[in-house]
């Protein structure tokens, strides 16, 4: 008994509408059961109370004059004080460094055309220029300072135009220029003995956000390659190299950073001859970088471990030598897989830079603390001060999270 069934393709239907308006959404998501309803109401009440009292404090009760009073020292610490630069104005040095950075960001945007580079460049240039309009009187913040800040916008534009309309700037050159700018910044801030106008400024007077950023930039750019090297070393088949890397990682990871910083100040002078350069800041920078590199190494190693062994096998089977297999096949995939962990480490490093208070450096946090201690009339307003400091830190760390999120999305092309 044969039945002829004609084949009719099923019509595709639109997906069911489960969310009908705001009420439907609320019913499905907020009040789907009695206990969810109770939770929603309680959470709403708590949020309203927190917002109410929080905003009331921020806008009415809090006295933010302490932040205004501390002013530029948040950014530069004691850098431009009479003690640091007796008899001359050093303010232009960090400002010129900032100009170089914005020009560099402009170039990065111009060469890559990347919307992320654009956002970062415009944000940094815009904020720098906006600082020129701070409501201080001219004798507190002179015209020269304001003009140099405003010049960040033309510097940005010049960098962008140079990259956009000439073939001088490539991505590789931007990286090289970045290193150069960092060195120039250090030289400008430190000063060169014997050069008029560049009188040396002891690093003891460096401080504020500038100090945190310098340490973070140096730490981040160095700890990643060092960490990669350590991770590869730990996976090496050469026993001596492997043991050295394991010992390094375990020692630096096993000791609190604060202890390492103490030791950098107390032990290193004992271990080296007197004429060994012992700038405490330099040692602190080295310690923070190595500490971070030890964690970085383990992040990267995790990424390498997670790769399918077939990847390296396929590369080797094609005749690629081991180092090219690592460089072109394993590392790019491993690093991509652990970007969240790497950026987490960057953020931790940035926050850890405030531990240099241990060696008596006045970073963003410590400068606030010292100010309060020296000006007891503001003792009641320490809360405002430290909330402000926290917000500044948060803005930078959130910026890093945002960049990492964008990078992940950009790299996500074709992945899984």
């Amino acid at each position: 008994m044969a039945v002829n069934l004609e084949y009719t393709p099923a019509e595709p239907l639109p997906p069911p509408r489960s969310e009908i308006g705001a009420i439907g959404w609320a019913r499905a998501n907020l009040f789907s059961a009695w206990y969810n309803g109770v939770l929603t109401v309680v959470a709403a009440l708590v949020s309203i109370l927190v917002l109410w009292f929080g905003l009331k404090w921020v806008f009415i009760a809090a006295d933010w004059t302490v932040v205004v009073e501390l002013g530029g020292r948040f950014i530069l610490g004691q850098y431009n004080t009479e003690a640091a630069c007796p008899g001359q104005n050093c303010f232009w040095r960090p400002q010129v460094s900032l100009l170089l950075v914005t020009a560099l960001l402009g170039m990065a945007w111009g060469t890559s055309g990347n919307p992320m580079a654009r956002t970062i460049a415009l944000l940094v240039g815009g904020v720098a220029a906006a600082l020129a309009f701070l409501p201080y009187r001219l004798e507190t913040m002179g015209l020269d300072v304001r003009l140099l800040l405003l010049a960040n916008l033309p510097a940005l534009a010049a960098g962008w135009a140079l990259a956009r309309y000439t073939s001088l700037i490539t991505l590789g050159r931007v990286v090289m220029l970045g290193v150069a700018v960092f060195v120039i910044t250090l030289a400008l801030l430190r000063g060169l003995p014997g050069v008029p106008g560049l009188m040396p400024v002891s690093v003891i007077h460096w401080g504020g956000l500038m100090l945190n950023l310098l340490l973070a930039v140096a730490g981040i750019t160095l700890s990643l390659p060092i960490g990669i090297g350590l991770a590869l070393g730990r996976r090496s088949r050469l026993p001596v190299l492997k043991i050295l890397c394991v010992v390094f990682i375990e020692v630096f990871r096993g000791v609190p950073l604060i202890t390492l910083l103490f030791m950098s100040k107390v032990l290193v002078p004992l271990a080296f001859p007197d004429n060994f350069p012992q700038e405490p800041l330099f040692l602190a920078g080295v310690v923070i970088t190595l500490f971070s590199a030890a964690y970085m190494a383990e992040n990267i190693r995790g990424g390498l471990q997670a790769l399918h062994p077939g990847q390296a096998e396929a590369a080797r089977a094609l005749g690629l030598p081991g180092w090219q297999t690592t460089l072109l096949i394993s590392l790019p995939q491993a690093i991509r897989n652990v970007i969240p962990a790497i950026v987490g480490q960057f953020i931790a490093l940035f926050k850890d830079t405030s531990l240099v208070y241990i060696i008596a450096m006045q970073d963003l946090v410590n400068i606030g603390k010292v100010f309060i201690q020296g000006n007891t009339e503001y003792l009641d307003h320490a809360r405002e001060l430290f909330i402000f400091v926290a917000v500044v830190f948060w803005i930078f760390t959130y910026g890093m999270s945002w960049v990492s999120d964008r990078i992940e999305r950009n790299l996500g092309v074709g992945e899984r």
């Binding site: 990847q311 096998e313 396929a314 089977a317 690629l320 030598p321 072109l328 790299l411 074709g414 992945e415």
Partner: protein, 252 residues
């Protein structure tokens, strides 16, 4: 005499003599002695764990043999790194799980080794890559990433990637085992075409139809040994070993 009638090719391109391999205490290869002539197509079958994959992986030194000698294309496989790299340039390999590089486009997957190892200029390598993509039937996928392709397409890219090094020998390690039936067909089609082009091929595969059609010899591995090594007709109709009949009855 071979099924393809290429009786002229008599040069032995792979010579194995008494090859042994252990994983810890497990004796994976227990004295493999065989030769493969240039242009020959050898299909290797056998139960799981019988050493067939291990065997072809020793041929390009992805696994190290611990006893015996292997000579591939005139080069003896020793610990000498230069020899190993020379052999790997000469021997293409296709894996069960494709192992394409997920962070590179299809085109870049194929041009990578010719560019970095053979030092071909990029435009030349790309020319070869496009020709090969054409040959495996997916030139339009060149700029996609591996994850955007179907399994069958990925395996065809993997074959093109191996061919781009212009190898004299191709090793296939269960190339269709991870594929849906429709995709098996498209991959076998490419392999069939390759077999007819005088390429020396060693393929671990349980596609018996394919083996019957293109193989010059079928080898069966069991417990680290070659238990049968015959032309397809003999192998299927008149196997010398009881073990072969039993295995065939299980997978047919």
């Amino acid at each position: 005499m071979t099924a393809n009638g290429n009786t002229a090719a008599v040069e032995d391109i792979i010579i194995c003599h008494d090859v042994h391999k252990w994983y810890g205490n497990f004796h994976a290869l227990r004295g493999i002695t065989t030769t493969v002539k240039k242009g020959e197509v050898v299909v290797i079958i056998g139960p799981s764990g019988s050493g067939k994959s291990t065997f072809i992986r020793t041929l390009n030194r992805l696994e190290q043999h611990q006893r015996g000698d292997i000579t591939v294309d005139g080069i003896e496989l020793t610990n000498d790194v230069r020899n190993i790299d020379a052999i790997r340039r000469d021997v293409g390999m296709v894996f069960q799980s494709f192992n394409l590089f997920p962070h590179l486009t299809v085109l870049r997957n194929i041009t990578l080794a010719p560019n970095k190892v053979r030092k071909l200029p990029m435009h030349e390598a790309e020319g070869i890559a496009m020709e090969l993509l054409d040959r495996v039937g997916i030139p339009e996928q060149a700029d996609k990433y591996p994850a955007q392709l179907s399994g069958g397409q990925q395996q065809r890219v993997a074959i093109a990637r191996a061919l781009a090094m212009q190898p004299n020998i191709m090793l296939f390690d269960e190339p269709t085992s991870a594929l849906d039936p429709e995709m098996i067909k498209e991959v076998l089609e490419v392999m069939r075409e390759l077999a007819k082009s005088q390429m020396t091929i060693l393929a671990v595969s349980h596609e018996l139809g394919f083996a019957r059609e293109v193989a010059d010899r079928i080898m069966m591995f069991d417990e680290g040994r070659i238990v049968e090594d015959q032309p397809p007709d003999e192998f299927f109709n008149n196997p010398r070993h009881e073990r072969v009949k039993h295995f065939l009855s299980q997978i047919l």
